[in-house]
Each structure stands twice: as structure tokens, then as C-alpha cells.
Amino acid sequence: MDFIIDHLSKSYEQKKVLEDVSFRFSSGKIYGLLGRNGAGKTTLFNCLNRDITVDGGAFFFEDEQGRREVEPEDIGYVLSTPTVPDFLTGREFLKFFMDINRGSITDPKPLDDYFDFISIPAEDRDRLMKDYSHGMKNKMQMLINFIANPTLFLLDEPLTSLDVVVAEEMKQLLRECKEGRIIIFSTHLLDLAVDLCDEIVLLSHGMLQSVDHAALDNDAFKEKILDALREDGHA
């Protein structure tokens, strides 16, 4: 299945943030979305997540059976600042989520298995999440999105503020779950993008373009990406 963005545009008054975004994303791949500060990465994600309305264009899934609309439950959106309800414990949040989505979750497991999966220690599972560390909140947020099993995964700078061990665990998780999904991963860290992603997509001048990796070693590839980004006037 492919996820297609077709001539998407979004302006704030005179400022055109997304001018004419068109792209075809294929499932089973992790896409690294790169762009200068202010290039519109978060705006693009917010548009796809329907948190803001678009001015023009469309986005949809396409497979052999044809096109279909993107429903809210198709999307998992993970923000750079982790958001979990403070007044619940980790276990309660997970239980609530499982209750709500009973029926749509394939192969539900005991709650503790999930905690083991993201290595949250037993003693933390019954604490209020307002007392969780940044990394633990981030893991919970990722976990919920993993279980929800969305077709389209939007990750906005998700690893930037995690310690190296947790970041490595997360990368591994993403690689494991990319099968059958489309993962779009925005980041400012060039090394991370090159290391983790199967394809690099640049957002510049309000448009998306892919950077061809073929026949280049990593250093030459990075240089090519930097050159392309330098042309963009944002700062």
C-alpha cells in the first residue's frame, strides 16, 4: 500500500508554508524528513493529522483495490515532547487504551508483556505518570502507538532528547515494526536520518523531494543533502 500526498498547500496569510507538496510513500520503509528550521515539517505533520485545515490538495492511501480516505485511526503521531495523561499510572493508561480499542487490537497480550517489551521496570508500572522521566513518558507514548498499529506513523523529532540507550532501543523498535507500515520521521540530526531511514525526503521551498542514495557512500550522500538544504533560504 502507498500513501500519497497530492498537491497539498497551506499558507498563513501571505506566507506560503507548504506550496505544492506531492509525494508517494511506500509501506515497509522509514522515510527521513529533513528541512531547515521553519521549512514547515511540523505544519506538514499537523496537516496530515488534520490538526489544521489545508488550503488545497489531498492525501490518501492507494493499493490494488483503489484509493481510500485516511481515517484518524490510520495515523500514529508521536510528538517530540512526550504527552501522557499525568493523573494515570503507566499500567492504567495501558489498560484504558486496551479497553477502548478492544476488538481492533490483534493478538492482545498481558499488560506486563508490553512493559517488558519497552523495558519499563516493574516498580515504575504502578506510579503516576506525572512522576515519570522524559524517556519513560516517551516510551509509553511510542508503546501506545505501536499497539494501535497505525498504517501511517508520523514521528516529529522523537529521539532528540532521549539518552543514548533509550534512543538505541527506540531505533531498534522502529526497524522491527516498519513492515507493512509507512514511517515518516522528521529530524534535524543528519547522522540519525542516514543511519535509520531507508529514504531521505527534503522539505524545501514548500515542496517535497527525495534524495537519491544510489551510487553514493554515506559521506557523499550527507554532502549532497547538505548542499540541497543550503539552497533553501530558511534559517
Binding site: 501571505q14 485511526e73 503521531y77 495523561p85 499525568d86 484504558f96 480499542n101 507514548q141
Partner: protein, 524 residues
Amino acid sequence: MLNTMLLSFSLKNTYRVNAILHSLKQIPLLKRLLPDTLYRVRGLKIFANVLAALYELLSVFLFKFLYVFCFLFLPPILQEGKMLPEAFPQIYLFLALLGAFSNTFLFNPTKEKYYAVILMRMNARSYALANYAYDMAKYLVGQLTAMMVLGGLASVPLWLCALAPLFAAGCKVTVAAYTLHDYEKTGKATSENKLGKLDWVAIGMLLIAAYVPFLLGWFLPQAALAGIFLAGILIGALSLRKVLTFREYRALYQKLLTEGMATLSSAKAAPAAQVKKNISADTGITSKKEGFEFLNELFIRRHQKILWKSSKRIAVVAACIFALLIGLLFFLPEEDRRDMSVLPLTYLPYFTFIMYSVNRGTGFTQALFMNCDVSLLTYSFFKQPKMILRLFRIRLREIIKVNLLPATVIAAGLCFILALSGGTDNPVNYLVLIVSILCLSVFFSVHYLTIYYLLQPYNAGTEMKNGTYRLVLMATYLICFILMQLRLPTLLFGGAVILFCAAYCAIACVLVYRLAPKTFRIHG
């Protein structure tokens, strides 16, 4: 020095002009007309500059006039029914002493000071002195005018009116000099906004000294007052040297302003942190329910402090007040007892305001957002229309229950008073009384939850961004306040209230069902 003064003035003005433009952009409708580039539109800039200049003028004259009028001119008139020339300068004396350390100008950690001295690295000493000179000049001009005009009206000798503001300025300079001296010795930078216990005691004593003797009719002889004023001016003039020769303004401001800014920026995050504090840490709270009922039960029980506990407290207080009134009824003679029946029979509009004040709706929606929805709304499963509506129903049921407890007590109390005072033979009055009070309670519960779902006023940073939401809250307050002034027969007003509340709730729920799946999200 003049250059510094002009620079800092233009900085302050830019800040003020942009603040005015920013607040214009918050007003619904108007914000659609104003372009995003409004900060560079010349006409708008000029308009905001005029407003800023007006504000500066107001702060020189109007506020000083208000101060002198409220604190010096009015009290004798209220107390004695006439102006007392002796009281005027005597009260001023103590208030000037109070202002000397609570409003120093020099040690007020303002944003402008922070931007100029810390961020823009202006010369701290010339900045401090230039601004001190400007503030003092402004103060003297305003105070002298206000004192001469209002003091003159109160028949206080004009020379005394002229001396008084100079004395107040002298006191300020003396306190400033002492504080600078103290800083040199101890390294402590005292912000005037962080008053210690001793300062509060001093403020209390000075207020007592200002107003109690005047109430008792004790006045200092004019010569003594003049002597004190002159002495204050003299000491102030001598102290000025310290302020002018002090060298360490940079270090002092570094300390004062970084601390001040820390409290300023935490003040922005304060509501969210405050709301988080309301989460009960009691590990015994659990729930056996499932899904949204599970979420809701945990939310309600972990927020007891702002929901049930607070509503029970209001119910108890209301019950006590009614018990007192009912007790009073037994001691009143027959005719006076009948007079009491005006409370339930014509004061019903007043109870709109009371029901407004005791409603827990705003606290509920604020906690809902900051402790729950701000995070859950980022998950797509939570945003599905049927989920939003299912949770809306549960939440509406809960907040109605929380608010109905005090409403029931108030309705019962009013009925008891009506029955015991023997004010009516028409039993419909009782029915209307009970139903309309309960309706008001339900109305406010529906109202707050509806505008929360339809306007969702917060952004991801838990700041309230929605001008329309603010206007609706203000309008709600205003309408309740205006209703408080009305006296209408309970049958008429109560009947109207019941009809209005029923119609409102029906319309509100239809709107939420139609629109909330689109409007209930975190706005960028």
C-alpha cells in the same frame, strides 16, 4: 545619560506598542481583519504609539489622582461627611513611608530592565540612574499636581501640599540608599516584590498609623508635620549621593533581574503546575470499571480536591448560612418574618450570580485539559468522533452531579425560608424555586463543558489562546452580574430561567454532537 534615557524609553515603548498590537490580534473578528504583518504596518504602529503615549500620561496623572482621591480625600468624607484639612497630610505621611520601601522604582525587577541590562547589555549604571530620574520626575509631577488640586479642595495649605510629595520622594531615595549600602555589605539584592514578614508587619503598622488616629480624631500639629516633611526631604537629599555614586548596578541588577525573570517565566507555567498539584497521590484510588468509565472514575477520584471536596464544602457552608437565617426567623416578630420572604420571592435573579460563583465547571475543564486532554488529544484513537462524544456524555453527567449537591442545598434552604416566613400561599412558587435553581446549576455545568468542547481554548503549551473563549467567559460573568441587580417575582424569573436553561442545554448538546469532533482538538 540623556542618550541612555532615550534608548531605554524607546525600548520600553517598542515593547508596549507590540504588546498593544498583540492584544488587538487576540480579539475575535478584529483578528481576521488584521494582517499577520501588523507589526510593520505604519498606521497601526502610529495608533499603538498614541495608545502607549496615552497610557504613559494616564500613569502620570490619572493614577496619582485616583490614589490621592481614594486614600486621602475620600476617607474623611466617608467618615465625617466633610473634608478634614488635618487628616489629609497626616495620612499622606504614613502612606509615603509605606511606599518608600514597597514601591522603590530602583529595585522593581521589570521585564524592561531585564531586556535592557541583561539581554542588550546596556550600561547598567546609566540605565538605572536615567530610569530612576525619569520615574522620579514622573512621580513628582503627578503627585504634586494631584496633591495641589485635591489638597487645595480639602483646604490644606498649598505649601504643605507641595512639601508632601517631596517628602515621599526623599523617603524613597533614603530607602534606596540604605538598600544599596546593605547590598555592598551583605551582597543581598532585595526585590521590592518579594517582601519579607517584617515588611508586611511594617505595612500593617503604617496602615494602622495612617488611619486609626484619624478615626479617633487625633491629629499632629501642622508645625510637627512640616518639620517631619522637611527632615525627610533633607535626609533624602543627603542620601541621593549614595544612589549617584554607587558603582555596582550591573552586579546588583544581574542578581535582582535573573531571579525576577525566573519567577516571571515560572509564572507563565504556573497554572499548569498548579493544576498538576491537584492530582491526588493516594495510591489507594483504583477503579474496577472499563474504558472511558475507568478513565473518568480515576480522573474524578484523583481530582477530589477541586471537584467533590470543594462542592461538599460549598454545600456545608450554604447549609450553615441557611441554618443561621432559619434560626433568625424564629426570633423575628411576625411582620419582619414576612419581610424575609422577599429573599425567595424576589431575589431569585441574585441567585443566578450565586449559582455562577459556586459552579465548579471552569476548574473542571481546566483540569480536564491540563491533566488529561492535552496528552490524550495527540492520540488518534481518542479523537475519533464516537469516542469524543461518548466521553463528553460521561463528563457532562459527572460535572452535573458535582454541581447539583450545593444546588440542592441552596434550593432546599430557600424553600424552608419561604415556608417559615409564610410569604406565599401559592405552592407553584416552591416548585419554580426548586426547579429553577437546579436548572441554573445544570445550565452552568453544560455551559462550561460545551464551550470547552466547542472552542478548546488551550494550545499544546497549556496556554489559553482563544480570544472568543475569554470573551464568552467575560460575557457569562457580566450577564450574571447584571442579573444580580434585578428584582423580579420568582414565578416570572424562575419560569423564564427554566425555559432558557432547557433550550440552551438542548441547543448546546446538538452543537457539541455536530461540531465537537471537528473543534475538540489541540490548536496550533
